[in-house]
Amino acid sequence: MFLAALTPNESHELSSDAALVERLLQRDVSAFEQLYDRHSRIVYALVLRILQQASTAEEVVQDIFLLLWRNAGRYQSARGAFVPWLLTLARNRALDHLRLKSERQRRREEQTEEPPAIQSSPLFEDVLDEKRRAERVRLLMASLNPQQKKAIEMAYFEGLSHSEIAAALKEPLGTIKSWIRNGLLRLKEGLQTTS
């Protein structure tokens, strides 16, 4: 059910994003404008949360959308929905900026070169608008132990490893691993229920 096959109606929104990206290959400025208006808020919010500075966040968002405009072919609809792909790209770019020239940055750049396959939940992507989606994710995360939620946020928004989080929270490494895994599995389960 979580990974249920797409029905025509359900796939409409996904196709729409994919179709717009396809039009970017034809240098269609209006397609770019639509994609920007549709997704720039969440991208900016994510980048700002990671970088904590508005001017730098805008620079990175500009880089992300120019990368999309100039390298639209990097997105392959067969490998997953557009929004998760864009958010993954945005997070990696922001973390790269945060830890410029570090080994972690080099690794993420490599990952950015080859977009990963992302298996999304079609119903969740299509049915819920951005605001409701955010509410659902926040609600699910709020149900976690505060420390567990904190550990996941440190990994996601700050790009910290298990060891770094364990050191920062002064918790055993095994506990951090367990918190993160169980928290993500619970989030997955909650999103599945939403779907």
Partner: protein
């Protein structure tokens, strides 16, 4: 816990990017080895992880950023030509079609050439066969003539010319093998004319028309009549006259050679 389970436990943290170096390298090796289950789990985990973006407090980029981006994008679009859309038929397929066309054209041409060679060989063979038949026929005639000439039962007939500047002809008549007329340096008959042999019966009736012929390029004349229209005993004389092409039922000109049979 199986090794597979151990890897599955690392998937979520790997998608999040929080694995320590050693575990990350270990899982990447496993994924590179082609574990389909882990690859699928990773794709799902990446999607779950991407949803964490919605934890970020809502924020909106400035209008200036939008304006700046669109300005850059419009300038890009104006500066760079529109990328040609992907052709319906890829280049490699066109190359394949062209190669197939060339191959077909070549094989057609080659087949046509072979057919022409076959036809030429057939024609040559037919010509050879015809020549062989002609030679066999000539050989049979020569043999028959030789037998007529050599056989003591044959009767020799001299055909003196009507004109003194013409050569004399000789004939040999065998009662069973036929009649053979021979001569050398015989002039070619006139245009649209032919030399025709006549058998003049003893009864005083009309001359019996026989074979028509021409001397060869060297003036050699050979007439073989296997079944003469009249038997030797009933024939008074042989005559040869010049007649129109196709021959005549009655002589239309004065005979050029006449020779008595008995």
């Amino acid at each position: 816990m199986s090794e597979q389970d151990q890897f599955r436990e690392l998937i979520e943290a790997y998608a999040l990017g929080s694995l320590d170096e050693q575990e990350r390298v270990m899982l990447e090796s496993h994924l590179t080895a082609g574990c389909a289950d882990c690859a699928k789990a990773l794709a799902e985990a990446r999607w779950v992880t991407s949803q964490l973006a919605y934890l970020a407090p809502a924020a909106q980029p400035s209008d200036m950023l939008r304006a700046r981006l669109l300005r850059t994008v419009r300038a890009d679009a104006a500066a760079q030509p529109v990328r040609p859309s992907k052709p319906a038929v890829p280049v490699w397929l066109w190359a394949g079609i062209a190669a197939l066309f060339l191959f077909t054209a070549y094989t057609t041409w080659d087949a046509w050439k072979l057919q022409r060679q076959v036809n030429e060989v057939k024609k040559r063979a037919a010509e050879e066969l015809k020549l062989r038949e002609q030679l066999q026929e000539q050989l049979a005639v020569a043999k028959r003539e030789a037998r007529i000439v050599m056989d003591p039962r044959s009767k020799k007939i001299i055909l003196p010319p009507h004109s003194p500047d013409m050569p004399q002809l000789e004939a040999m008549w065998h009662p069973e093998l036929g009649l053979c007329v021979m001569g050398q340096k015989v002039p070619m008959p006139g245009k649209n004319k032919v030399l025709q042999l006549w058998l003049i019966p003893k009864t005083g009736g009309k001359p019996m028309p026989s074979q028509m012929t021409w001397p060869d390029a060297d003036g050699k004349l050979n007439i073989l009549v296997e079944n003469p229209p009249e038997v030797m005993a009933e024939t008074k004389a042989l005559a040869i006259s010049e007649e129109p092409l196709g021959g005549s039922l009655q002589p239309t000109s004065t005979p050029m050679w006449v020779g008595g049979v008995s």
